[in-house]
Amino acid sequence: MRRYLPLALAAAVSPFCARAAAQDVLLQARRIVVAPDAVLDDGRVLLRQGKVAYVGTEVPAEARARARRVDYGPAFVVPGFVLAQTTLGHDADLAERALPFTPDLRAAEAADPWQEDLLELPRHGVTALALAPASGNVAGGIAALVKSGRERAVVGDDLYLTLSLARNARQAERPPTSLMGAVDLLRSAFDGVRTGIGQGPDAAVLRQAMQGTRGVFVYADNFAELNAALDLGRDFGLRLVLVGAAHAEKVLPRLVQQQAAVVLGTLRPELRRAELELPARLAVAGVPFCFGGDPELLRQSAALAVQYGLDRRSALQALTRVPAALLDRDGTLGALRQGHAADFVVFTGDPLDLSSAHVATWVDGVLVAGSEPGAAPVAEPPAAAAGVR
């Protein structure tokens, strides 16, 4: 079933794809956020071959004349949201249960380009994501960059290494069962690489982490787990990003000192106040952070953070530029600057106001959800059309 629907969709949009690739597009709207600190009013951006070619007044008159004009009128255009860590709810397929230590496994091998969840994401503003090994393993493996939305998702580069000190990495039926056991497992592995005892593909990944050529995302929530993760980062020189980090306010000075970053979980109104105020406190302290968790609730998380003191610019950065930077992809994702991928989302108003409706999402210069101005919307996502949800 799932093979046929996307094929049908592909057939419907592919002539359009071909045209989009061939012809420049001049995107116009009342407000275009090129980056949170560069906003164009009545702006225009020229898209060429899936990338941003020119921004604002830099668009040459001759190119403007030849381009196909896409004018979203009074709408807001923002860079596509980047999800720095997700398992898309497929944790079981992204953690090798019997073995706690699998740093050289690649999430890319588990990525299904036909997965229906990926087709849903553009409607929620997400245009790029890091499919990450799940938190069930102490060393889970390597995350993969995925561009969502088109009939067949594009599984791209290998990204960071994931480690986990979270509760579900300590299981009753296989070692380690305790936090000190999990810490020891990692410390001895990194020590082994440092002293040259550790060899093989898993040691190679750890070596990249210690040399700083590969980032390290650590699942950690409570005080003890966060401290343990920061200790490892300090002792082995890791470029540390903490995932979840519900109690990060307790280790704020250490986050600043060690220049660690945070991927937050979904914010919900019923959370502890300290958790709701955390984004604002991280912003004031200068700790890079982005919104994560449930991809469908990214805007809600950002709006709640704003309600609890976060400035709007930081909130938008935490959906776009910061996660792109945490993936070492801020040269191509998370903004609409020249040379960046033409990934953007159109809303009727400010995306941080939840009353603003989604209008369209484009990935690599192609409309993948919503509609062009004055045109019928592209086909419903197949899962919805098939009545799956």
Binding site: S178, I197, A228
Partner: protein
């Protein structure tokens, strides 16, 4: 450079604030390991004790004065066998029964409610050991009971290696009996014999490796074995948890067999084996002397605690330290000292058994456990004599800072 500055600035601010001098006057001071001072003066500067003495002790100009008339000041109490400080399950690594290299410090949760309760009751440092579910659990550490960063709370790392006798290390292990053969719990030990066998095997292998390594190419490092070898060489003290008579005898026998130094933790049946304890010159940690029976997972071990044990140890000259230990029926540490005093231990010795005695045993007496110039300002202002049942810790100070009251 900017990173360096951001580290230095708070440090400089901290020094400026901490350099403030506070003087506590008028209290009866029990300095720990020294005679009481009736009308005492305690001078605290920069998180450390600047001076302790009688009413004639000079008070620095500009110091803040705290009137403590009618109160008693003691050193912060030290619990040399503390249950808590980490989330449930995090102090027992069930992957193996012998894990000498695991560090309890790695599981420390500064937010643990047991730490908050302990510091509110006047305990300023605790000896945190791995749990009792492993035969050889791992390395213990001493931490202050207040703080947010384990590295800053740490007083001394790797102070002990916990070994456990009795039924606890075998409690969850099992033969197949229809269960899964691939379970990590399908393993030895399932008996007391098995517990002893595992201990002996671990030390035997460590000793053999030590002997073989003399003059030979070194064996590949094994971190667990290296810890056991530190115990064999006398660089690290074993803390053997042994409650019943047979377990205490076994603990002493294995220590003598391999020639390592051990402390007997819990030691409920110490009154039965006082001669052996004296002969072996071991220090005894007496867990919860107020408890008439052992409660918790070690309850079935058959130990028979007696109220008179503390006095017996004192009379026989067996060095002992009072702790709360693993007994779930334990009271606050100061009340355990009170019970020991009620049952015949001299009051001064009862206080020493929760202050300077554990500090010396754990090797931290240069920093805490008594009130003397130069030591950390860890102390408690009690409403009454601390051995009075009505005594309440009115304020508890760690490194000169009052910890938030939770009463």
């Amino acid at each position: 450079m900017s990173r360096l500055a951001s580290v230095l600035v708070p440090f400089a601010l901290g020094t400026a604030l901490a350099a403030q001098t506070t003087v506590f006057t008028g209290a009866r001071i029990l300095p720990g390991g020294a005679p009481p001072i009736a009308d005492g003066v305690l001078v605290v500067t920069g998180g450390r004790i600047a001076a302790v003495g009688d009413a004639a002790t000079p008070v620095p100009d500009g110091a803040a004065i705290v009137d403590c008339r009618g109160r008693t000041i003691t050193p912060g109490l030290i619990d040399a066998s503390f249950r808590g400080g980490a989330a449930a399950g995090d102090l027992n690594e069930q992957g193996d029964e012998v894990t000498p290299h695991l560090r309890a410090l790695d599981s420390l949760d500064p937010d643990d409610p047991a730490l908050a309760r302990a510091r509110a009751a006047g305990v300023t440092a605790v000896h945190l050991m791995p749990g009792t579910r492993n035969v050889i659990g791992g390395l213990g550490c001493v931490v202050k009971t207040a703080g947010t960063d384990p590295a800053a709370m740490l007083v001394k790392a790797d102070v002990s290696l916990r070994i456990v006798m009795g039924s606890e290390p075998s409690a969850e292990n099992r033969a197949i009996r229809g269960g899964r053969v691939d379970s990590i719990y399908y393993r030895r030990p399932t008996t007391r014999m098995g517990v002893v066998w595992e201990t002996r095997r671990a030390f035997h292998e460590a000793k053999q490796a030590l002997e073989l390594s003399l003059g030979a190419t070194p064996a590949p490092p094994d971190r667990g074995r290296e810890v056991l070898q530190r115990v064999l060489r006398g660089d690290l003290t074993a803390y053997t948890t042994a409650r019943s008579e047979q377990d205490i005898r076994t603990a002493l026998r294995i220590a003598a067999e391999f020639g390592y130094r051990t402390v007997i933790d819990e030691a409920q049946d110490a009154w039965v084996v006082a001669d052996e304890l004296l002969a072996a010159q071991v220090t005894v940690l007496l867990g919860a002397p107020s408890a008439a029976q052992v409660q918790g997972s070690a309850g079935r071990d058959g130990a028979d605690p007696r109220y008179a044990t503390a006095k017996l140890l004192a009379d026989r000259g067996i060095p002992f330290v009072i702790t709360t230990g693993t007994n779930t029926a334990a009271l606050e540490l100061v009340r355990e000292a009170m019970f020991a005093a009620r049952n015949g231990v001299a009051p001064a010795q009862a206080i020493d058994a929760v202050t300077i005695a554990p500090a010396r045993l754990l090797g931290i007496a240069d920093r805490t456990g008594s009130l003397a110039a130069g030591k950390d300002a860890d102390f408690v202002v009690w409403s009454h004599d601390p051995l009075d049942p009505a005594a309440v810790a009115e304020s508890v100070h760690i490194d000169g800072k009052p910890v938030p009251a939770s009463r």
